[in-house]
């Protein structure tokens, strides 16, 4: 037989094998699926998450997962700085607002069967306020001096002074069964009292977590889905593909015009939530290292030298919102007329510099952390136009914690930073000993405003105080914010996300509902 015939036969046989294999693939359980409703009327929500579950108190942006497995002591209300009952059914302050007493909900147990009571709450608060436990929220609990169990379901929190941020920040953390505090696998095997419990049969640690409704949960009607499936997908493209192919229903999407456009074209709901700001922290307002920064006019000039829309277009490809404020538009601290305060005006900025006695400008080194270094060239250029000679320090690869540590130990007069527009920004960056306030900036006016916040006993008084705070920050130009980067969530048709967020990094689980 001719060689050619031998090879032809081999080809034919291999070809038949290949077609058979392809048919198996095509007929097998193929694409799509995931999420959506399952049989017998139960509803399943499948959420893509960027990273594995983390331990409570060690991740500030994991609300979407904590919501499933844990209850907080008090619940931070989306859209306001207010709190509502959760494991605490009620609470009250004494007349000086230095003693906060909680009544704890009865009949609630953790997944391990131990009761949620005053002792459990005390142990959680003590754990959360102890820096040695690794808690990230310890600074937010700093005003707490001691926690006392008054009775099985009454716990008293003693404070060093009034602090309005304690409830929405420090005491809205997930409550964990004390028996599980030191369990090394707590992250992947949660032990809380939340609306859902982990279904281990549908869980592969590090890959997928399935949560099913907790029997007898005290607020079951608030949650629309019977099953929540979390799929860990750590790459942006894979996340979008999983959403578009129906494998997940909800996901946090990176800012990417092409991805957002493709999702919208395919009929997916894309919701942009205000989140984060990028800009300069003008730390040395006392002028210790750069005397010029002690002048308000110089700080105002810096703000007016920045062409925010142009910077957003050049650096973020239009995917951010030009802004000059650290607070989000939905915050009571946001100043509606803020954008008129510092319009882009190089001429006026130069005039201010001259009036301050710095017509020739000054030199300064500014470190740029993480992706912020992409702003460096334009900031160098625009501040250079008013005489400020900037040397940009590339801290792209510096660990965040090292960067923050440097801000405290060797603070630069001006640093580029990215932060959230949330409440903890106040505690972290505005109070004199906040860990982002390396220069310990303060002023009598700020102290007065903070005191008003702490003692406000009506929502109107609180909002008014926050508004004064926002005005103070903006008027005194402690920052030169450039833009706000929105957090983008996408959901499949039929899934409704809340239109606005308050003080969170993602929508609350109870607010994700089937579309009406």
């Amino acid at each position: 037989m001719h060689t050619r015939q031998i090879v032809t036969r081999v080809f034919i046989r291999l070809g038949i094998a290949a077609i058979t294999a392809a048919s198996v693939v095509a007929c097998s359980s193929g694409g799509g699926g995931g999420g959506g409703s399952s049989s017998s009327g139960s509803k399943t929500l499948t959420i893509g998450i960027w990273s594995d579950l983390s331990k409570p108190y060690q991740n500030g942006s994991a609300a979407l997962t904590y919501d499933a497995f844990y209850d907080p002591l008090v619940h931070k209300t989306a859209g306001t700085y207010d709190v509502t009952p959760a494991l605490a059914t009620s609470w009250s302050y004494n007349s000086t607002r230095t003693v906060l007493t909680f009544n704890i909900r009865k009949g609630v147990t953790f997944s391990d069967g131990t009761p949620v009571n005053a002792q459990a709450i005390k142990e959680n608060i003590d754990w959360g306020r102890n820096p040695k436990s690794g808690s990230l929220v310890a600074p937010w609990m700093a005003p707490i001096t001691s926690v006392v169990v008054k009775s099985p379901y009454v716990v008293q929190v003693n404070l060093s002074g009034p602090d309005a941020l304690l409830l929405p920040l420090g005491l809205s953390q997930p409550i964990v069964s004390p028996a599980a505090f030191n369990r090394s696998n707590l992250a992947q095997d949660p032990d809380g009292s939340g609306p859902y419990v982990l279904d281990k049969s549908g869980t592969t640690p590090g890959v997928q977590y399935t949560a099913v409704r907790r029997n007898g949960y005290w607020d079951a009607s608030a949650y629309s889905y019977d099953t929540i499936v979390y799929k860990v997908i750590s790459a942006p493209t894979a996340m979008v593909n999983a959403l578009r192919s129906g494998q997940i229903n909800v996901a946090w999407i990176y800012q990417d015009a092409a991805a957002v456009g493709s999702l919208q074209q395919a009929g997916y709901n894309v919701t942009e939530y205000e989140s984060g700001w990028n800009g300069l922290m003008l730390g040395d307002i006392a002028g210790k290292q750069i005397p010029a920064l002690a002048s308000l006019k110089v700080r105002q000039a810096i703000n007016m030298a920045l062409d925010r829309p142009a910077i957003v277009k050049a650096v973020e490809d239009g995917q951010a919102v030009p802004s000059d404020q650290t607070f989000a538009p939905s915050s009571p601290a946001y100043q509606a007329n803020g954008s008129q305060l510092y319009p882009y005006d190089v001429t006026q900025a130069k005039k201010l510099m001259a009036e301050a006695g710095y017509a020739n400008g000054f030199s300064v080194t500014i470190p740029f952390f993480g992706s912020g270094y992409q702003y460096a060239p334009v900031i160098v250029q625009e501040l250079g136009a008013i005489g400020i000679k900037v040397t940009a320090k590339d801290d792209t690869t510096t660990e965040l914690n090292q960067y923050i540590s440097d801000m405290n130990t060797h603070p630069y007069p001006i640093v580029f930073f990215e932060d959230d527009p949330y409440l903890h920004f106040i505690t972290d960056a505005l109070v004199p000993d906040g860990f982002l306030n390396g220069w310990h900036r303060t002023s009598p006016a700020l102290t007065s405003v903070m005191h008003q916040i702490d003692v406000a006993n009506t929502p109107a008084a609180l909002n008014s105080a926050y508004s004064q705070l926002g005005s103070f920050v903006l008027d005194n130009a402690w920052f030169a914010v450039i833009d706000g980067a929105p957090t983008i969530f996408a959901s499949a048709p039929g899934i409704q996300l809340p239109p606005k967020l308050g003080d969170d990094a993602g929508p609350e689980l109870s607010l994700i509902q089937p579309a009406k």
Binding site: R4, S54, G206, Q247
Partner: protein, 316 residues
């Protein structure tokens, strides 16, 4: 042959010890306290005393040779330790993630072998269109990055046509069809890049062998063309192709992390990146162990097969 195999295995063991020891030393370059800080979640204001206490409790402050010896002892009893991050046993972590990577490597290997044989043999013996197709494929796969091809495959077949899952992994124990559908796109992306190299090697080797006098002699003795090609020529031409194939397998093993990210496959590559960034020493060593064992095993197998195919190879 037995002595040949024994020598290869002994070399493999020595390689394993060297690689794991060097990896162990490299993991500790940042220092035990840095690793302890990562284990604590790298909080901003953790005290030096807390870091020291954590490092002490994890045994990270012991001399490196002592720690390595402990780990080796555990290895011999099948205990690879526990993750410093979440306490999960390294054995169970690998049990979850190794099958994913192995599936990717094996399926892409099978596709590579099948397509390489098809194209390599065809190009060598038929020439013409098939030979030109192989040349074009070789140039094309050099120019087209495999991750780009993977993105195209995912978009077309996973997202648009929904023929197969765009992301995720379905274990073979759950569904064979589901497993194959979840692994086929990344395997194709990997195989396309490998086929050109292996196919070209096979083509060249076949051409050389078919020109040999003994091939003509075999035909003149009345042995069928099928037997000459499949039993004699291919056997002698396979060795270079096998060597290239083994290199491709090793290359694929190290490069799966890209495919794993594109298709959200929970494989060993992802674990390696995450555990390395977190300083999770036991998990890193577990991954290194797996990778080293596979590489050594592949090399040994190729040497054994080459030795079987060509007795002259056994002398070396």
């Amino acid at each position: 042959m037995a002595w040949y195999v024994a020598r290869r295995v002994a070399t493999g063991v020595a390689t394993f010890i060297a690689v794991t020891a060097i990896s162990f030393a490299l993991i500790f370059v940042p220092g035990a306290l840095t690793i302890a800080r990562e284990v604590l979640g790298n909080p901003t204001y953790i005290t030096p005393q807390a870091i020291q206490a954590e490092a002490q409790s994890l045994g990270l402050l012991r001399p490196l040779p002592v720690q390595y010896a402990d780990w080796l002892r555990g290895l011999f009893t099948g205990n690879l330790g526990r993750s410093l991050q979440n306490g999960q046993s390294v054995n169970s972590i690998l049990a979850i993630h190794v099958p994913v990577t192995l599936s990717l490597v094996i399926v892409s290997l099978l596709l590579t072998v099948a397509l390489s044989l098809l194209l390599g043999l065809g190009a060598a013996m038929r020439g013409g269109l098939i030979d030109r197709a192989l040349q074009l494929l070789s140039v094309g796969t050099l120019a087209i990055p495999s991750y780009w091809l993977a993105l195209i495959l995912a978009t077309v077949f996973g997202v648009t046509l929904r023929l197969v899952p765009a992301t995720g992994y379905i274990p073979i124990t759950v569904s064979f069809g589901g497993w194959l559908s979840s692994i086929i796109l990344p395997s194709i992306a990997i195989a396309v890049a490998n086929v050109a190299a292996v196919g070209q090697q096979l083509r060249g080797a076949m051409l050389d062998v078919l020109r040999q006098d003994y091939i003509r002699t075999l035909r003149s003795r009345g042995i069928s063309r099928r037997a000459v090609v499949l039993r004699h020529a291919l056997r002698n031409a396979a060795a270079p192709g096998l060597t290239v194939l083994s290199l491709q397998v090793i290359y694929t093993l190290g490069g799966t992390v890209i495919m794993e990210r594109i298709f959200a496959l929970p494989g060993v590559g992802t674990v390696a990146v995450n555990s390395g960034a977190q300083g999770d020493v036991p998990v890193v060593l577990g991954v290194v162990t797996f990778m080293t064992v596979v590489v050594v095993a592949v090399n040994i197998m190729v040497d054994i097969i080459n030795g079987w195919l060509s007795p002259k190879a056994r002398i070396r």
